[in-house]
Amino acid sequence: EDQVTQSPEALRLQEGESSSLNCSYTVSGLRGLFWYRQDPGKGPEFLFTLYSAGEEKEKERLKATLTKKESFLHITAPKPEDSATYLCAVQAPVQGAQKLVFGQGTRLTINP
């Protein structure tokens, strides 16, 4: 069964304090690994897709990396507006399904 585990569940940082969020996955035949940001009361907002081990993608203060077993979302010099829940999901075709399997998310708080 496809599984996604994110850690930590919650993380509090001071503004400017860099850190990393972890996403460990177990899936047969990874098609893609996705990172989303979700603000309270809103739907998830797409950030990145990673397809193969060694791949990296960057957007502003965020950088996502992928290995064969996990992905990291690195946050450099975060600002209060980076506070949100960050969700990781994997896509693996099962009997033709194209669903995303999500982790529980990491709730990130950046204090000014």
């Binding site: 098609r31 893609g32 996705f34 989303y36 009361g41 809103k42 739907g43 998830p44 907002e45 797409f46 897709t49 969700l87 999901a89 896509q91 009997q95 033709g96 399904a97 194209q98 669903k99 995303l100 399997v101 999500f102 982790g103 529980q104 998310g105």
Partner: protein
Amino acid sequence: GAGVSQSPSNKVTEKGKDVELRCDPISGHTALYWYRQSLGQGLEFLIYFQGNSAPDKSGLPSDRFSAERTGGSVSTLTIQRTQQEDSAVYLCASSSGPNNEQFFGPGTRLTVL
């Protein structure tokens, strides 16, 4: 449209009533997905449409749940005889192809009293 839209944004209903939730995907997106997010739970896949057909209904929790998509665009998720455990945020997503990134709508918050 500019993004995925869903209606209503909030729905409060009484146990045993039927509800319909609507999703308008991004124009031109052929794939459409429904997910459910319960308090303290991750996003749970419900159903996937490619065009008007649903190749994967594996996530529908019971036969009280059904969904349809017409004209390759709008989709409706129907929950019959609602139960309190159906209370959740129902999210719709669309993508330009089955292997492409999914873009989510704002969700419908369903509360069953």
